[in-house]
Structure formats: C-alpha cells, structure tokens
C-alpha cells in the first residue's frame, strides 16, 4: 500500500475550441488533455514524457489551475483544488509552484532578478526588505551570487542563469510540489546537467515532490521515480522508471525507448522506430489514438479506446495486446 498521494488527478480533460468565421463560432476542438488520471506520492518525482503537442504543458497548467479544466478533479494534500475559493486558492498556490520551459519569456524584463524572486513573497504579504533578503539567500542557494547578480536584469543573464532564477522564484514560497515544465529543454547539454543536479539536490534538501515534464527520455529516466507516457492527450503507459526502461509494454513506449540515442553500439538503430508526425489532436483517430502509427494495430483498436490494464504491480498499459497477460496475472 502506497502512502496517501500529495497530488492526484482524476478524469482531467481540456479541449480548446478552435473558432473561426465571422461569428467566431466554434468549429472544432483541440483535444489537448483527455481523461488523464494519476497520483503523485510525497517525495516522489513523476516524469511525464511525450512528443511535442501531446498536451504535457496543458496538463501542467491544469494541475496548477492556471487553466480551468473542462472536466475532472485535482486533489492536492487532501483538498479539491478546482473547487477552492479565491482566498483559499491563493493559500494553496504557496504550496504548488511551476518552473517554465522558456528561460527568456518567463522573467519580466523590467524587474531585477532579486525583485522577480521577491515578488511572490510580496504577494503573500511580506515586507519589502525581508522579502529581498530571502530572495537574495535563495539566489545564493541556486548558485547566483546575489551581490553580483541580485540587481541585474534578465537580459544580462545566460539561459542557464535565468533558469536558476526561475527555480529560485518557484522555491521562494517554500512549496511542497514543484511542477517543472521542460525546465532544461532550452539549455545546452552541459548546462542541463548542472541544472538537473541542482534540482535533485534541492529536492532532497527541501523534501520536495516533483512533476517533471520533458520530451527527453534520458532526462526523464535520470530524474524520475515513476513515469507517465502521454500520447495525444492521453496516458498510454505508467510505471516505475526502471520498469519502463527495461520492459516497455506499449508499442509507443517501445518506439520511444528505441528511438532514444544510445552510446551502446549493439543498440544501433537500423531504421526509425516511429515514422511520421503524430496525428492532429483536432481530430484524433477513433479508438486507440496510436493505432495509425502502430505496427500491431488490430481492427478492434479503431472501435474503442483500450482501458488501462495492469501488467505488473504499479505498471499499467492502455493497449489491447496486454489484456490476456493482465487476465493471467490477475
């Protein structure tokens, strides 16, 4: 039995309307996130992986209620986030923070980085001087000397330095949960490693829980305890990072791992395991959304979406190939 989850989502759905024409009528829906459910236990890192446009960033914003979902619920620390009234929501926001992908767009160009970090504290009623002092201490912790950098503006900093500022800003309210939306994707490889290690250090130091979103399997494998694989707004497989790396079950997960670059010459790729782009999320394929690119697609895959089945403890796959296997283990 696992510990009570810090964060749990059930049936999360967000469809964005595509408007057009003179009257701005809704002409189609982008199914960004469709019926997503997961749990994150305290102290864990949940990795969310998937191709571009599969709804990862929307999911991050749904968790933090920066975007209101169409359906579903988010529970944080035993509280229904989506039903929280404004005052309560403000209090909840202290405990759940977000680090953004783009180190350039995520900092206000008119605020010194010290003020950018201190802003959240001012919002929650701290005085200017103590807020600044706390911001400077945190900048120091993330590796930016506040005497050199505190009064600088974002455009004077490198991408890696800005991402450190973003991390400091997210941590200044002392949150329990940090949602990291592709925090290292925009950085150079060498800087990526530094920032990742900083994130891992901060996690143990502050007893944080991470939801780590990335399209980079190597990064996900490195940081995550559990991994959730998304395809076109739906979860296709969840399991521990080790289980997914060693025995990926879903054809999509298998293809993802097969396409991850490897240093091992025996794992050399002969042909691309996945061809083409993912289908348009505006009109996703019926049934299993992966069937159009799947080598094992069967006629029934087009009829209905396969429900998730447990192939091992804590390892679920949404694929008809494993129904029989699940029946045996059950």
């Amino acid at each position: 039995m696992r510990a009570a989850p810090l964060l749990s989502a059930r049936g999360l759905r967000k469809h964005f309307p595509l408007r057009g024409g003179v009257l701005q009528r809704t002409q189609a829906w982008v199914r960004a996130v469709d019926d997503v459910a997961f749990d994150v236990t305290p102290g864990q890192t949940l990795g969310i992986v998937g191709e571009s446009g599969c709804g990862k960033s929307t999911l991050a914003r749904l968790i933090l209620r920066l975007v209101e979902p169409d359906a579903g619920s988010v529970w944080f620390d035993g509280e229904d986030v989506l039903r929280a009234l404004p005052g309560r929501m403000k209090r909840l926001r202290r405990d759940m923070q977000l680090v953004f992908q783009d180190p350039y767009a995520s900092l206000n160009p008119r605020l010194t980085i010290e003020d950018a970090v201190a802003f959240s504290l001012l919002v929650h009623g701290a005085g200017r001087a103590p807020a600044r002092a706390q911001a400077r201490a945190l900048l120091d912790r993330v590796g930016l000397d506040p005497r050199l950098y505190g009064r600088r503006y974002p455009h004077e900093l490198s991408g890696g330095q800005r991402q450190r500022v973003n991390i400091a800003r997210a941590l200044v309210l002392d949150p329990k949960l940090l949602v990291l939306d592709e925090p290292v994707s925009a950085l150079d490889k060498s800087v990526q490693a530094q920032v990742l290690n900083l994130l891992l250090e901060l996690k143990t130091e502050r007893a944080l829980t991470y939801v780590f979103i990335s399209h980079d399997l190597n990064v996900i494998e490195y940081v995550s305890d559990r991994v959730l694989v998304m395809y076109l707004g739906q979860i296709v497989e969840t399991g521990t990072a080790d289980a997914l790396a060693e025995t990926p079950k879903h054809p999509y997960t298998q293809a993802l791992f097969a396409s991850a670059p490897s240093m091992d010459p025996d794992r050399r790729m002969e042909r691309p395991p996945l061809a083409g782009d993912p289908p348009n999320p505006i009109n996703p394929p019926s049934g299993c959304r992966f069937r159009t690119r799947c080598a094992f697609a069967m006629p029934r895959c087009a009829e209905a979406a396969p429900p998730p089945v447990a192939v091992a403890p804590d390892h679920e796959v949404a694929c008809y190939l494993y129904e029989a296997a699940a029946a045996v283990t059950a």
Binding site: R93, F100, Y153, H155
Partner: protein
C-alpha cells in the same frame, strides 16, 4: 538601433548595475541628435510659456501703415503680418496655442487609450471585441478627415479642436496598448505571477504596465508632431482657433494671400510648424532607441 552599449557591458568586470530608467537616461545623454532636438524643443516650449514677457509687442495690435514689413525692420525683428501685427510676438503667442493644441490631445489619448487598451487586451473575449471594434469605426476614417468632420460638427474654437483631435488619437493609442498587452499577457512571466497567487491589480501594476507603457509612450510621442500639424491644419481651414488669436496654422492661412508681396514673412509660421514637428520626431526616435531593451 544605435551602436550604444549598456554601460556595464563596456566594462569587463561587473560594475554596479543601473535601474532601467537610469539606463534609458544614460543612453539618451549619449545620443547627439536627440539631445539637440530635445534642447530645441525645450527652448520652443520655454519661449511659448514665457510669451507674455518675451513678446516685444501686443500680438493682436496691428497698424495699417506698417503692413507686411520685411524681416529686420526697425522694432519688428521678424517683420509684420498683413494687418501690421508684429510677427515675433505672434509666433511666440501662437506657439502657445499650437503646442497646447498639439500636446493636449495626445496626453488625453495616452491616458484614455492606455486604460482602454489594457482593459481590452487583458480581459479579452467580449470586452475586447466591443472596445476594439468600436475603435475600428473611428480608425476607418483618415485622421485628417475625421478631425475635420468632428470639428466641423462641433464648430470652431480651441476646446472643440482639442476634443476632435483627442477622438482622432484615442483609437490609435488603444490599438498599440491592446496589442502590447496581448503580447505580454501570453508570456510565461505573467503565468508565473498568477501561479504565485498575485491578484489582477498586482499583476497589472508590477508586470503588465511596466512592459506596456514603454511602447505606448514611444508611440504617443510620435503622434505629437502629427497632432500639431493637424491642429494647425484645422486652424488653417478655419475650424480651429478663431481669428484674432495667434496660432501657427491660422497665421499660415491668413498670410497665404500675401505670399507674392512678401514671400519670406508668410513662410515663418510654416517653418515654425515644420521645425517643431521635426524636432519632436527626432526626440521620439531617440526615445525609442533608448528604451529598446533586449528582453
């Protein structure tokens, strides 16, 4: 973009960084064209402000015998107009009118337009549609035509000129403010501010306005010269300031008939309009360069 670098970029060692507005000031102080134009503008404004003390004669007192005196006449340095009124005095007093008529509508439009544009941009949806489509109605007319139409409907006089020019400039400012707001609204630092629990006012004050006011201010400054030209144009057409008063556009109109008698004196108000709006354009160009910050 000029070749100017930020002060601490020129030093190898990190020095004491400057605040944004000090950086802008530092850049402006090194832009010679802007400095010259700015100084000139200051002089024009000062001269207009001090007209009652600087003007050697009553601007409205004419003399039948001394009509259209050439430049350099005794006691009339810049000559006299078709009614024998001292040109220097009329130019000084006229500068007051012209500057008021040029600046006021832009200031009004800047305040009103920023408020409307930020509301439209930040609220989005129906509010945005209502505000922006209403502005489009005004925007559909050419500026001069709209100013003439409104002034014509309201009748001549300075207050009506100010009203009609304000109506001309508000929609332009709203557009710039709205697009800047929409752009900033989509950036992640605004989402980060919301994620920290900040309310609408805190977000507007600390994150949105600081990044929207810059481009709107620069745009508004480019409109001042246009406003001066439009105000002078309305007076020229007889829709602005009413006759006995001195105003550059009006002076240009009444002196028009005398251009074959004395070609230099009638050109003076035109020259004043041209040089002042030129200086305004140079200053706003310099301001734009100085405020451009690499985000």
């Amino acid at each position: 973009m000029s070749v100017l670098a930020l002060p601490h970029e020129t030093n190898a060692l990190p020095g004491a960084p400057m605040s944004y507005w000090r950086t802008v000031g530092w850049r402006l102080a090194r832009d010679r064209a802007t400095l010259v134009a700015g100084t000139f503008l200051l002089l024009v404004m000062l001269a207009a402000l001090l007209a009652p003390w600087l003007a050697p004669h009553d601007p409205n007192a004419g003399s039948i015998r001394l009509r259209l005196a050439p430049i350099g006449s005794a006691s009339h340095v810049l000559g006299t107009d078709e009614q024998g009124r001292d040109m220097l005095s009329r130019l000084l007093w006229g500068g007051r009118m012209t500057l008021v008529a040029g600046l006021t509508p832009v200031v009004v439009a800047f305040l009103l337009g920023t408020v409307l544009g930020v509301i439209a941009g930040y609220a989005g949806g129906l509010t945005n549609t209502l505000v922006m489509r209403t502005m489009d109605v005004f925007y559909a007319f050419p500026a001069v035509l709209l100013a003439i139409a409104i002034s014509g409907a309201l009748g001549p006089g300075l207050p009506n000129t100010l009203i009609s020019l304000s109506i001309v400039f508000v929609p332009r400012v709203v557009r710039v403010a709205e697009s800047a707001t929409v752009q900033v609204k989509g950036l992640e630092y605004l989402a980060a501010a919301r994620a920290s629990g900040a309310g609408v006012w805190q977000i507007l004050r600390h994150h949105l306005l600081a990044n929207v006011l810059g481009p709107v201010l620069v745009f508004a400054s480019t409109q001042v010269s246009l406003s001066i030209i439009l105000a002078a144009g309305l007076s020229f057409l007889g829709l602005g300031v009413t006759p006995p008063a001195a105003e550059w556009g009006l002076m240009l109109n009444t002196l028009r008939q005398s251009i074959y008698v004395n070609p230099v004196v009638p050109a003076l108000p035109g020259l004043a309009i041209f040089v002042t709006s030129m200086a305004l354009n140079l200053v706003s160009d310099g301001l734009r360069d100085a405020m451009e910050i690499r985000a």
